[in-house]
């Protein structure tokens, strides 16, 4: 079962990219890949330290607008703009969250929701950079070696490479002393403190890394779909990414990828019935919290460990 899920998560995007002729479905896979990247980054914080960052989409948005500004107004190459935008997002996300980072579980999530709302409003009120509610259209694709926008399906392969690099990065991080420290903090914060672990410092570090990954996803997303608006980076998106991690299986490598692959395409597959998407997401939140608190992959791992 476990192998089946891993195969599904790895093979579906690759097979789809390489075999599908239909541009729309390849595009949906591209969207799913960016959400896989986001989910992996959020998992580093939620899955390995227990914090739910509901500012996540806002941080991705800051990176998106920064990257767009650097590319469209300053003429910088996307590949220079992306890391700069992500770094700006990580630093800003950290500054905004500094007052909240000492809070626990529910209170951290709640404060994140407030900060996220403030970020969304800021996007609307700084039209010089964001064009307000109208959004920015005709955002150019990331450029290839020939200086032109990378076409599908090659762009999707680039996105897949980003996901692979992120997952590998998270995997390596969790094998370091830093990773073990994060797990200790997640399991029991008070005990971790009593053992000499600097909880705030380690959390802050995890928050910065996670925000940077959010920023990478944000820049890629805007330049991939060619459009950016405040709605694309509001609190609902933060919740959706959180749900992908929770439903797939937090604290595992594969779980967030599975959750993103299952949930991210929904809004695109249900274009005519977008309201159904929110119903499905809502029901999924209920079902997961009630019956599968460990997520789908977490449940599979647990059953595998028993048998």
């Amino acid at each position: 079962m476990r192998a089946l899920i891993i195969a599904f998560v790895v093979a579906t995007p690759l097979v789809a990219i390489l075999s599908l002729r239909d541009g729309f479905f390849v595009f949906i896979i591209g969207i799913a890949l960016i959400h896989m990247l986001w989910a992996s980054g959020l998992n580093l914080l939620y899955g390995f330290t227990g914090l739910i960052p509901l500012t996540y989409a806002g941080i991705a948005g800051v990176s998106a607008y920064t990257t767009i500004h650097l590319v469209m107004a300053k003429g910088l190459s996307f590949w220079w703009a992306l890391p700069i935008g992500s770094a700006v997002a990580a630093v800003l996300g950290l500054l905004l969250s500094l007052p909240a980072i000492r809070l626990r579980g529910f209170y951290f999530a709640l404060s994140g929701m407030v900060i996220q709302s403030a970020i969304t409003i800021a996007f609307v009120y700084f039209p010089a950079y964001t064009n307000g509610d109208t959004g920015i259209a005709s955002v150019p694709r990331p450029t290839g070696f020939d200086g032109r926008g990378i076409a599908s399906p090659y762009m999707e392969l680039v996105l897949a490479a980003f996901v692979a690099a992120t997952v590998a990065g998270v995997w390596l991080t969790m094998r370091t002393r830093f990773g073990h420290t994060l797990i200790a903090i997640r399991e029991d914060e008070d005990l971790a403190r009593a053992m000499g672990i600097n909880v705030t410092l380690n959390r802050t570090a995890a928050f910065i890394i996670s925000s940077f990954i959010a920023g990478i996803g944000g820049g890629l997303y805007a330049h991939y779909i060619g459009f950016a608006s405040p709605r694309a980076y509001d609190v609902l998106i933060s919740l959706n990414i959180w749900l992908m991690v929770a439903m797939g299986g937090r604290g595992t490598l594969i779980g967030p990828l599975l959750g993103a692959l299952l949930l991210a395409p929904l809004p695109y597959l249900l274009v005519q019935y977008t309201w159904i998407k929110d119903v499905i997401y809502g029901v999924a939140i209920l079902l997961v919290t009630m019956f599968l608190p460990q997520g789908i992959y977490g449940y599979v791992l647990k059953r595998g460990a028993k048998s």
Partner: protein, 240 residues
């Protein structure tokens, strides 16, 4: 360097209007095993929380081997050499036995290889012979307590503060626990809060009695048990 291991000078801590600790003076000499007793709510656990940095005292001074740890963050206090156990045993229930002990080394300068060696030595030190990969949550209470001890010993603390280390154990386990604590005296200073008098009388060199956040007496176990007010507090004055 100070001749004392721990010095708490005029330490006070209030929760709102409730004075949990009022100007407590406690010193613990090197190699001395200090006990603390007192009725429920007398401030014993608060004292451990304040010394270990989990709670910040309102006033006073706290020194470990002469160096002030007053109002320092808890992780700094832990790194300075104060380790504590909890009244309700605290272990990482979802992690393995080995990972639980290794976690005790995470906040301290130590390589993973050294830590693994030390972790095994610590487990052997407390006599816990279980599968290293076993889930810590599946251990019984006595084993959990010993695992908690092992996870503290790996950081080589200067002072180990034990909050009711025999609570919930059966008489046989209590005897073994007393022997274990006795054997740990060679490695670090030990401070014990206990309700079980047998533990205090057989282990402590000196006993501090707290009542309503104030220090009532500070003497040898034998003298403390003969003390008129201590008897009144524990057995009642007869007119209550």
């Amino acid at each position: 360097m100070s001749e004392h291991l721990l010095e708490a000078v005029d330490v006070s801590k209030a929760f709102g209007g409730l004075k949990a600790l009022s100007q407590i003076n406690v010193t613990q000499g090197r190699g001395e095993l200090l006990g603390m007793i007192g009725p429920n709510g007398s401030g014993k656990s608060t004292f451990v929380n304040v010394i270990s940095g989990a709670l910040k005292p309102d006033s006073g001074d706290i020194r470990l081997m002469g160096g002030s740890i007053y109002r320092k963050p808890q992780h700094v206090v832990a790194r300075a050499g104060i380790a504590r156990t909890f009244q309700a045993v605290k272990i990482f229930g979802k992690l393995s036995v080995l990972d639980n002990v290794l976690a005790g080394a995470l906040g301290h300068e130590m390589s993973r290889a050294d830590a693994t060696e030390l972790a095994k030595a610590s487990l052997a030190r407390v006599g816990l012979n279980v599968d290293l990969d076993k889930n810590a949550g599946s251990l019984g209470l006595y084993d959990r307590r010993r695992l908690e001890f092992a996870a503290r010993l790996i950081s080589r603390p200067k002072l180990l503060m034990l909050d009711e280390p025999v609570g919930g154990l059966n008489p046989e386990e209590i005897r073994a626990m007393i022997a274990l604590i006795q054997s740990l005296r060679e490695e670090c200073g030990i401070f014990i809060i206990e309700h079980t008098m047998k533990v205090i009388t057989s282990l402590a060199d000196r006993v501090v009695v707290l009542v309503n956040g104030r220090k009532l007496v500070d003497d040898t176990p034998q003298a403390v048990l003969r003390h008129r007010e201590v008897i009144d507090v524990y057995l009642g004055t007869g007119d209550a």
